[in-house]
């Protein structure tokens, strides 16, 4: 039943200046599964997920020890460029962040910066990813209009489409529904379940019901430590650690 390991975090310690945000975290991310990371605010789960596409190195004064692997390869090895990792590991952010460009250009951007110039290919890809992100029907007549005119939920699906266009292998979702209404949230969740056929997915969420609905595996973080990790079903029905139980039953957090 266990699956192939797509990504692996090995003894991760992470510091913002002198503050330690992650303490010796080990975690496996399985191929074509959804892994949810839960925990109270400030527990390090967002920091952790941003290590998988080397996003934290954009922040000055941070330090990482330990290793992160994708398909057994060390992503922080000096022979690997951050852009190469980000082409394999995409990310959808907490707040929808489309560029102030047209809907079309938002998706084409990822292709263009990766050196694709063929216009027909780009056009085809835009249509294809919009369909995949369940947004095509809503925007097909307004591809040239600004993406900022879309609703929050549509913007977030556009950001997912933008990520899909790059054809990454892994998609990281950092609280993707934090600023969305329940209907938009439902659509995004459906989409995540649909996408796991082709992608490996990691999702950080504050919403435990969401974790229970969409994920196969769940990790519970507290104060920078991974307290418990296992199959979502087990974590929610029979947590081994008292702190996990306290959190999922709503006693704190």
């Amino acid at each position: 039943m266990d699956n192939d390991i797509k990504m692996k975090a090995d003894k991760i310690n992470f510091f913002y200046g002198n503050t330690q945000a992650l303490k010796s975290v080990d975690l496996n991310i399985f191929s074509n599964r959804v892994t949810a990371l839960i925990g109270p605010s400030g527990c390090g789960k967002s920091t952790f997920i941003r290590l998988f596409n080397r996003m934290n190195e954009l922040i000055a004064g941070t330090k990482l020890t330990g290793k992160i692997y994708i398909d057994g390869e060390d992503i922080n090895s000096p022979c690997i460029e951050a852009v190469d990792i980000r082409r394999r590991v995409g990310m959808v952010f907490q707040k929808p962040n489309p560029f102030p460009k047209s809907i079309f250009d938002n998706i084409a951007y990822g292709l263009r910066v990766n050196g694709i110039k063929n216009k027909d290919f780009i056009e085809e890809k835009v249509v294809q990813t919009l369909k995949k992100a369940a947004l095509w029907e809503e925007v097909k007549c307004r591809l040239k209009e600004s993406a900022l005119g879309l609703s929050g939920g549509q913007q977030q699906r556009l950001c997912i489409a933008r990520c899909l266009a790059v054809e990454t292998e892994v998609i990281l979702f950092d609280e993707p529904c934090a600023s969305l209404d329940p209907i938009s949230t439902g659509k995004i969740e459906e989409l995540i379940l649909e996408l796991k056929k082709d992608y490996t997915i990691v999702i950080v969420t504050h919403n435990m019901q969401q974790a229970a609905r969409v994920s196969d595996y769940t990790g519970f973080f507290l104060l920078g430590e991974l307290i418990e990790f296992g199959r979502t079903q087990d974590i929610f029905t029979a947590p081994k650690d008292k702190r996990t139980e306290a959190y999922i039953t709503g006693r704190f957090g």
């Binding site: 596409n53 996003m55 954009l58 000055a60 951050a82 852009v83 190469d84 980000r86 082409r87 995409g90 990310m91 952010f93 707040k95 962040n97 489309p98 560029f99 102030p100 460009k101 951007y109 990822g110 263009r112 910066v113 990766n114 600004s146 900022l148 950001c159 933008r162 990520c163 266009a165 790059v166």
Partner: protein, 296 residues
């Protein structure tokens, strides 16, 4: 209780009056400019005044054609733009994208300090350092030229351009950059395709305000532009921008005479030009805020 309410009312009135006083001064200045400037249009004719190529206000009979002065202003302003845009925008990009926190804390105040140097000091610097340099380098009869004025004005406008452009760049939300990096763009692509377009209108505003600064500057051009009221043909010749003409001649123009009215009319033209610049800058920056989804 009643006493407090009266006190509050008085405060409210004082601040209202203070706030509206700028409007009062603006309108007052406009009225004076119109009243003192328009009579010359009756005597000389509006188009002949604006497009006349000879400015000999003290000859007999006098010539009141301000085209050489307008062109003088345009030339030095254009030259200043060529100097201050690369300097100002370049340093803004450096401060925002490349400089670390400490460097930025150190460099930004220094660039801003350039703006606090009095213009007469810039003019002095132009006369003593730049003038002989240009004279020697280009083998000119005089170093007091449009080029000299352009260089100094450009330097003076740099802090304006840099500060406003840097603000525009820093208003670009971090989320845009992150989104760009997340799809595999490198730093250069992120800068040229996301950050600069997003800050584009802010940067244009910076440039227009820099132009405003350059075209309105008086003391420096009076000192280094050379002062010849001829239609400029080369940056290496002297020019007489509008501001310099007003400042140099107002003292000698008999009050209420044609020359006096002509100088007011030049001031009016200058005022309208900078007014238009500022309106354009305001419109662009408003669009910019809407584009980034900031409150208008």
């Amino acid at each position: 209780m009643n006493y407090r309410r009266i006190k509050e009312k008085i405060y409210k009135w004082i601040f209202t009056v203070l706030a509206f006083s700028s409007l009062f001064f603006l309108v007052g200045i406009m009225i004076v400019l119109f009243k003192e400037g328009t009579p010359i249009f009756k005597d000389v004719g509006f188009f002949k005044f604006l497009f006349g190529t000879r400015w000999y206000p003290t000859h007999e009979p006098p010539d009141f054609g301000i085209l050489p002065l307008i062109l003088g202003s345009i030339w030095v302003t254009a030259g200043a733009i060529i100097v201050c845009v690369p300097l100002g925008v370049g340093s803004a990009l450096y401060l925002n994208e490349i400089a670390g926190f400490r460097q930025r804390q150190f460099l930004k105040p220094i660039i801003e300090l350039l703006a606090s140097i009095p213009s007469v000091v810039y003019g002095f610097f132009g006369m003593v350092i730049v003038t002989p340099f240009l004279q020697k380098t280009f083998n000119l009869p005089t170093g007091l030229t449009a080029l000299n004025a352009s260089l100094i004005l450009g330097l003076m406008a740099t802090p304006t351009v840099c500060t406003i452009a840097e603000d525009a760049l820093s208003y670009v939300p971090r989320s845009f950059r992150e989104a760009s990096f997340a799809v595999g763009a490198n730093r250069w692509q992120t800068l040229t395709r996301v950050v600069i377009p997003a800050a584009g209108s802010g940067i244009s505003t910076a440039i227009i305000l820099g132009m405003s600064r350059a075209i309105g500057e008086t003391m420096t051009v009076l000192m280094v532009a050379g002062g010849a009221a001829v239609i400029p043909k080369t940056f290496l010749g002297p020019v007489r921008p509008m501001t310099a003409a007003i400042a140099a001649e107002m003292g000698e123009a008999p009050m209420g005479g044609d020359h006096y009215h002509a100088l007011f009319a030049i001031a009016l033209v200058l005022f309208l030009i900078t007014f238009v610049f500022n309106i354009i800058a305001e419109i662009i920056s408003r669009r910019f805020r809407i584009k980034l989804g900031l409150s208008g």
